[in-house]
């Protein structure tokens, strides 16, 4: 591991992984407790349209993709709020449309793009310094937004109906959450690729949820799990010459299974009565 650290590319990869972990812990936790995992998946895949657009227009990839996925996220947030009935179907369509657009735009781009796969499966070993700075900036912005709206976001996550009764602008916060998810996805694409984004967004928060005593604690713990997965995955991929993004997710999945097997300190929920049990489900 120490020997690997002497390489610039490996150090940058580690920094990128840790930044992604930080942001995945925070946003992934909000995504999981707000039950918008499917939306986050939609945003991740639709963002491929942004990659295609960037290649077609010759503009820098990360900013263009960030803008494109934010737009896609807003569209999906709007659909979930205002046409609830078929929201999942429409999100499925946007999901596929974004990917198709990306592929078509890449087809139309002259020349051969060997980079294509790197956006699908991650290219953490090729993160330049400039991208690292951009990722740090995005992380800072997202963390600041979460901090500023933390009480409203937490209240919405816990009980949206009650939050609304307290005057919390739940709709605005829903859009905000989806926008932040889009930025998070763009950062994580570098690390594990857009196909595997959803795993890094959901596995660490799921493991943390059952062990944390507050949403803040869940975010911290999820970030920590994620950082461990990224570091171990990165090292294994270096040592065994495996695809990096997939190795990180593989490690996360092993961690997930172990986490299920390890008994929790806390007592499981006792249903007080069949009625209470069904109400909680």
């Amino acid at each position: 591991m120490l020997e690997a650290l002497t390489y610039d590319f490996f150090r940058n990869a580690l920094y990128a992984g840790l930044l992604a972990s930080l942001i995945c812990g925070v946003i992934g936790s909000l995504v999981v407790v707000n039950r918008v995992v499917f939306l986050a998946g939609g945003v991740a895949h639709a963002s491929y349209g942004g990659v295609g657009l960037a290649f077609y227009t010759g503009l820098p990839v990360l900013p263009v993709t960030a803008g494109f996925s934010t737009l896609a996220a807003m569209a999906m947030a709007w659909v979930t709020l205002f046409s609830r009935e078929r929201a999942d179907t429409v999100i499925g369509v946007l999901w596929a449309a974004g990917m198709a657009l990306g592929i078509i735009l890449l087809d139309l781009t002259p020349g051969y793009n060997s980079d294509l796969m790197s956006y699908l499966f991650g290219s953490i070993l090729a993160v330049p310094d400039s991208d690292l700075w951009l990722m740090a900036g995005l992380s800072g912005a997202v963390l600041l937004l979460v901090a500023l709206f933390s009480r409203g976001l937490f209240a919405m996550s816990f009980d949206a109906e009650f939050a609304r009764s307290r005057g919390v602008p739940v709709r605005f916060l829903h859009f905000l959450l989806m926008g932040m998810t889009a930025l998070c996805v763009v950062m994580v694409i570098r690390v594990v690729g857009l196909i595997l984004v959803i795993a890094l967004l959901t596995i660490p928060p799921f493991m943390a949820e059952r062990r944390a005593r507050s949403l803040r604690g869940m975010m911290l713990l999820a970030g920590l799990f994620s950082a461990v997965f990224c570091t171990v995955g990165l090292y294994l991929s270096y040592a065994l010459d495996l695809t990096c993004g997939a190795t990180i997710i593989g490690v996360a999945c092993v961690g997930f299974v172990i986490s299920l097997a390890v008994p929790q300190r806390r007592m499981p929920v006792r249903p007080a009565s069949p009625l209470a049990g069904s109400g909680a489900a």
Binding site: V33, R35, A147, L148, F149, S150, R151, G152, F154, A155, S157, F158, D159, A160, E161, F162, A163, R164, S165, R166, G167, V168, P169, A208, E209, R210, R211, A212, R213, S214, L215, G217, M218, R266, M267, V269, R270, P271, A272, S273, L275, A276, G277, S278, G279, A280, A281
Partner: protein, 289 residues
Amino acid sequence: MDTPAIEISDLWFAYGGVRVLEQVNLTLPRGDFLAVLGPNGGGKSTLLRLILGLLKPGGGQLRVLGAAPGQAGGRIGFLPQFTEVSANFPITVLGAVLMGLVRPGISWPRGRAARRREREAAMMALSRVGLAEQAERRLSDLSGGQRQRVFIARAIVSGPELLLLDEPTASVDGRSRQEFMTLLAELNRDMTIVMVSHDMSTVDGCVKSIACVNRTLHHHADSRLTPLIFAQATGADLIAGCPVELLAHGAVPHRVVLDHENPDCCGGRHAHGGARGHDGPNDGGEPNA
């Protein structure tokens, strides 16, 4: 303090062109404990959401604590239906109660004194519902009845003048329900309570008046259950008689059913039965889940 807790006149509301509520009139004095009964889909929860300001009325007047709905802020406490809250959510009992102090806007860092004040208010609310010792436990470790008390504490932590409860006993078993109603009676000394329920057994001693909501609202200024109230509340036909199932279940096994004293209240039994023919199947209401 002279303004009524709730003043409603000629209120109506429609979902996509279908009127769910119309000609609703109600003046609820302070200190009252109103049970809002009625069949599912009769408009009870809609009325509660209108009072909370979560829905905008189609027309008519609505004042809550002398203010427009949604403007009374922390003076209203609210308990949503139980199912809204995920059981796995990582939060302590204390954390859940503190949610009752959330205000809209940016969360600037609060000083230590402000945080301590909030904590003290939350502990006070918890001791009022008898759960102060559970404050540091995870919410998911509590029983359904205890959790419901936590949500009551969350509703009263801001010191409200009006408490709105949506089906508070739906997920609570029989014994806890009795304790729960006793708790509400205690709280009623300090605040006006409006409780939406389709469960007749919650209408016991502590309820002071009853409103039956089935597209429109009938307010009964005392809490005695009459055959008329049963008919209005269950959507059943009066001629079908006393719905024994409702009477026989619940905390109070059977109660005296008074004669229908005021035939003008909704046009007498036949007119009532006839009028109902427009807005739903007359088959004795829906099965009571």
